[in-house]
C-alpha cells in the first residue's frame, strides 16, 4: 500500500512539480559573460585557469570537492611535474593496508585524486549549517549556462530588497533559485595574492575560478575544438568530391 502510494505520488509529483516550482525559477538569468572557451575556436585561457586553481585551492576547497580531478590532471593547465608534486605533497591521503594490515597516512602523489574536504556528505552538512556544498568538478555542466551561472552566484550577493526577510544562516543572492543560499559570500577583495600581479577583485577572481571550473568539467574541450575543425573541413571536401562524382555519374541518366 505504502509503495503504491509512493509510486502514485512520484508520478503525480513528476507531472505537477514543474508547474508548482515555477515560482522558484523567478531568479533572473545571470548576465552572459565573455569566456575564452566560447565558440568554435575557443580555448581555455591557461593563465586565468591557473589563477582560478589558486582561488579554488585557497578559498573554495575549504568546503567544495572536485571529485573527478586528479593532481596529474593539472599538467594540462601548464604546471610542471615538480609543481604538481609540490601541490600534492601539501595534503595527506589515507593509503593501505600496509604489511601489518594497518591503514596509514602519506603525502599525496600526482596519481592521487585531489582529496575532498570532508570524509562524507554527513560531515559536510554538519560543518555547513545543514547544507551540502556541491561537487565543483562538473558544476559548469550541471547547470544551464553553467559558467554564467557560477559567475552570477559568486557576484550575486546583495542586501535583500526591502520586505524580503532572510532567515538566520542564509544569505540573499540575486541569481540563486529562491534567492536564499546557505553559502556565505566566499570572495572578497584581495582574498588571494596572484603571483602574476593581477588585481584580485571579486569579478576577477570569479572569472578566473569559473575558467578553472569549466576546464575541470570539460578538460578535453581544447582538443575537441581543434579536432572538429579538421573533421568538418575533411567532410566539406569529401562532400564536394562526392557531389562532383555524383553529377558526372548521373549525367549518363539525364
Amino acid at each position: 500500500m505504502l509503495k503504491e502510494m509512493f509510486a502514485a505520488a512520484l508520478l503525480i509529483g513528476a507531472l505537477t512539480v514543474a508547474g508548482a516550482l515555477r515560482a522558484e525559477e523567478e531568479a533572473p538569468t545571470p548576465p552572459h559573460q565573455q569566456w575564452s572557451f566560447d565558440g568554435v575556436f575557443g580555448t581555455y585561457d591557461m593563465a586565468a585557469a591557473q589563477r582560478g586553481f589558486q582561488v579554488y585551492k585557497e578559498v573554495c576547497a575549504a568546503c567544495h570537492p572536485v571529485k573527478h580531478l586528479y593532481y596529474r590532471d593539472l599538467e594540462e593547465l601548464g604546471y610542471s611535474e615538480d609543481q604538481i608534486k609540490g601541490f600534492a605533497a601539501q595534503s595527506q591521503v589515507t593509503d593501505g593496508p600496509n604489511d601489518e594490515g594497518q591503514m596509514f597516512q602519506r603525502p599525496a602523489r600526482p596519481s592521487d585524486k585531489i582529496p575532498e574536504p570532508f570524509p562524507n556528505d554527513q560531515a559536510a552538512r554538519a560543518a555547513n549549517n545543514g547544507a551540502l556544498p556541491p561537487d565543483l568538478s562538473l558544476i559548469t555542466k550541471a547547470r544551464d549556462e553553467g559558467p554564467d551561472y557560477v559567475d552570477g552566484i559568486l557576484n550575486g550577493f546583495k542586501n535583500p530588497p526591502s520586505g524580503v526577510k532572510v532567515p538566520e544562516g542564509m544569505y540573499y543572492n540575486e541569481y540563486f533559485p529562491g534567492h536564499q543560499i546557505k553559502m556565505p559570500p566566499p570572495l572578497s577583495e584581495n582574498q588571494v595574492t596572484y603571483a602574476d600581479g593581477a588585481k584580485a577583485t571579486v569579478p576577477q577572481m570569479s572569472h578566473d575560478v569559473v575558467t578553472f571550473l569549466a576546464w575541470a568539467a570539460e578538460p578535453t574541450l581544447d582538443e575537441r575544438h581543434r579536432m572538429g575543425i579538421k573533421v568538418i573541413l575533411f567532410l566539406l571536401v569529401a562532400a564536394g568530391l562526392f557531389y562532383a562524382a555524383k553529377r558526372k555519374i548521373w549525367a549518363r541518366v539525364h
Binding site: 509503495k3 503504491e4 509512493f6 509510486a7 502514485a8 512520484l10 508520478l11 509529483g13 513528476a14 507531472l15 505537477t16 512539480v17 514543474a18 508547474g19 516550482l21 515555477r22 522558484e24 525559477e25 568554435v40 571529485k67 573527478h68 590532471d73 562538473l138 555542466k141 550541471a142 547547470r143 544551464d144 553553467g146 568539467a217 578538460p219 578535453t220 575537441r224 575544438h225 579536432m227 572538429g228 573533421v231 568538418i232 567532410l235 566539406l236 569529401a238 562532400a239 562526392f242 557531389y243 562524382a245 555524383k246 555519374i249 548521373w250 549518363r252 541518366v253 539525364h254
Partner: protein, 422 residues
C-alpha cells in the same frame, strides 16, 4: 537509354563461381546492390533510409567500445562515465558520438517516416515493409530510453522512475509489472543492471528487423516520388553506382551536421541535470524526456480527465502508446489507391499538417503543464488521432486525385522520350 539494363552476369573467375554455387554471396551482392533495379527518379528524401542504417552501425560500434569502459552499478555508473570522458583515450569522442548519435538517429528516422507517409510508401504491396519500420521505431524508443538511464544522473534516474511507473496504470497487474521492471521496490541497482543488459541486446534485434525490412524492400523495390510502379528497364537504374554515390554525398552532408553537434555543441540535446549524480531524495524541477520522446510525453500528460470510467492515467498511457500502434494500421486507414500525395490535392496539405501537429506536441511536452499548454496539448492530441482515424479514410474516399503519369521514364525525360528509345 545509355544505362545498361541489369542482367545477371555471374562471377567471372572459376573459384568465385565455385563459391557462388554453394554460397551465393556474389549473386546476393549483384541482386541487392550492384544490379538492384531502383527507380531513376528518387529524390534526396530517399537518402534517409541508408543514413538510418549507417547511424545504426555507428551507434553499435561506439556503444560496444563504451560498454568496455562502463560500469553498470548504481554506485559506480556515474563516475565510470566521467572516467570515459576524462581518462579513456578518445572516450569523450566516443561518448559524444553515441549521445548525439541517438538524437541524429531519431531525426533521420522521423524524416524517413514522414517521407513514407507523404509518398504513400506503406501502400500495396509494401504494407509489411512499413509495419516492420514501425517495429524498428518502437524498438529504438525502448533502446534509447534504457540507454538514457545508464549514466545514472538525476534525469536518468527520474526518467526511469516516471516511465516505469506508467506501467502501474495497467489494471490489476500494474504494480506487479512495475516491481518486475525495477527488480525491487524502487528504481535501483537491479533496474540499472537489467536496463544495461537490454540496452546491449535490443540494437541487435533492431539489426535483425532491419534485415527483414530490407528483404521486404527488395521484394518490390523502392517506392518513388511519383508513387507509380516502374514498368521496365527504362524506368530503373542499377543501385550501384547511381545511388551509392548519391548516398555517399548525402552521408557527408549529414556527417557535417552530426560533427557540428559532437564537436561544438555536444550537450545541446542533453539536460544539465544529468551531470548531477542520481539522487532518490531530490526531484529535479522539470522531468523532461529527450526531445524525440516529447510528443508521446505530451499525449500522456494531455489526458487530465477520466473518461467512461477509465482513469486519466491509464487513458494517457493507452493513447500515448496508441499513437505508435496506430501507425501499424495506416496501410488500411488510407483508403486512396494513389500513393504519392503529389497527385492528391487535399491530402497533400493535410499530410503537411501532421508534422506541424507533432512539433506542437513536442513543444507541449517540453513545457510545464499549466494553462494554455494543457489546452494546446489536448487539441494536438485530438488532431493526431483525428488525422489518422478520420481524415485519412475520409479524404481517400472523397478526394479526386490528379491524373498519374504513365511511366517514370516519361515523367523524368519528358513526353514520350523513353517510349521512343527502345
Amino acid at each position: 537509354m545509355t544505362v545498361p539494363a541489369t542482367t545477371h552476369r555471374g562471377p567471372q573467375s572459376r573459384i568465385l563461381r565455385w563459391v557462388d554455387y554453394r554460397l551465393p554471396f556474389y549473386s546476393i551482392i549483384e541482386h541487392d546492390l550492384t544490379g538492384y533495379p531502383t527507380p531513376k527518379n528518387l529524390s534526396y528524401w530517399w537518402n534517409f533510409g541508408s543514413l538510418a542504417g549507417i547511424i545504426l552501425v555507428i551507434m553499435i560500434v561506439t556503444g560496444i567500445v563504451l560498454a568496455m569502459h562502463y560500469t553498470p552499478h548504481a554506485d559506480l555508473a556515474f563516475d565510470s562515465v566521467e572516467r570515459i570522458m576524462r581518462d579513456v583515450n578518445y572516450g569523450w569522442l566516443l561518448r559524444y558520438i553515441h549521445m548525439n548519435g541517438a538524437s541524429m538517429f531519431f531525426l533521420i528516422v522521423y524524416i524517413h517516416l514522414f517521407r513514407g507517409l507523404y509518398y504513400g510508401s506503406y501502400k500495396y504491396p509494401r504494407e509489411l515493409l512499413w509495419m516492420l519500420g514501425v517495429v524498428i521505431l518502437i524498438l529504438m524508443i525502448a533502446t534509447a530510453f534504457m540507454g538514457y538511464v545508464l549514466p545514472w544522473g538525476q534525469m536518468s534516474y527520474w526518467a526511469a522512475t516516471v516511465i516505469t511507473n506508467l506501467f502501474s496504470a495497467v489494471p490489476v497487474f500494474g504494480q506487479k509489472i512495475v516491481t518486475l521492471l525495477w527488480g525491487g521496490f524502487t528504481v535501483g541497482n537491479p533496474t540499472l543492471n537489467r536496463f544495461f543488459s537490454l540496452h546491449y541486446l535490443l540494437p541487435f534485434i533492431i539489426v535483425a528487423v532491419v534485415m527483414l525490412h530490407l528483404v521486404a524492400l527488395h521484394q518490390h523495390g523502392s517506392n518513388n516520388p511519383l508513387g507509380i510502379d516502374h514498368r521496365g528497364p527504362q524506368d530503373t537504374i542499377p543501385f550501384h553506382p547511381y545511388y551509392t554515390i548519391k548516398d555517399c554525398f548525402g552521408l557527408c552532408v549529414f556527417l557535417i551536421l552530426f560533427a557540428f553537434f559532437v564537436f561544438y555543441a555536444p550537450n545541446f540535446f542533453a539536460s544539465a541535470d544529468n551531470y548531477i549524480p542520481a539522487n532518490p531524495m531530490v526531484t529535479p524541477n522539470h522531468i523532461v524526456p529527450e526531445w524525440y520522446l516529447l510528443p508521446y510525453y505530451a499525449i500522456l500528460r494531455s489526458i487530465t480527465f477520466d473518461f467512461l470510467g477509465i482513469p486519466s492515467k491509464l487513458l494517457g498511457v493507452v493513447l500515448s502508446l496508441g499513437s505508435l500502434v496506430l501507425l501499424f494500421f495506416v496501410p488500411w486507414l488510407d483508403t486512396s489507391r494513389v500513393r504519392s500525395a503529389r497527385f492528391r490535392p487535399i491530402y497533400r496539405w493535410v499530410s503537411l499538417l501532421l508534422p506541424i501537429d507533432v512539433v506542437a506536441l513536442g513543444y507541449v511536452g517540453s513545457q510545464p503543464p499549466a494553462g494554455f499548454v494543457v489546452t494546446l496539448g489536448q487539441i494536438a492530441t485530438f488532431y493526431y488521432y483525428f488525422h489518422f482515424l478520420v481524415l485519412m479514410p475520409l479524404i481517400g474516399k472523397l478526394e479526386r486525385p490528379r491524373p498519374l503519369p504513365i511511366s517514370i521514364g516519361e515523367a523524368v525525360l519528358g513526353t514520350g522520350a523513353a517510349a521512343q528509345r527502345p
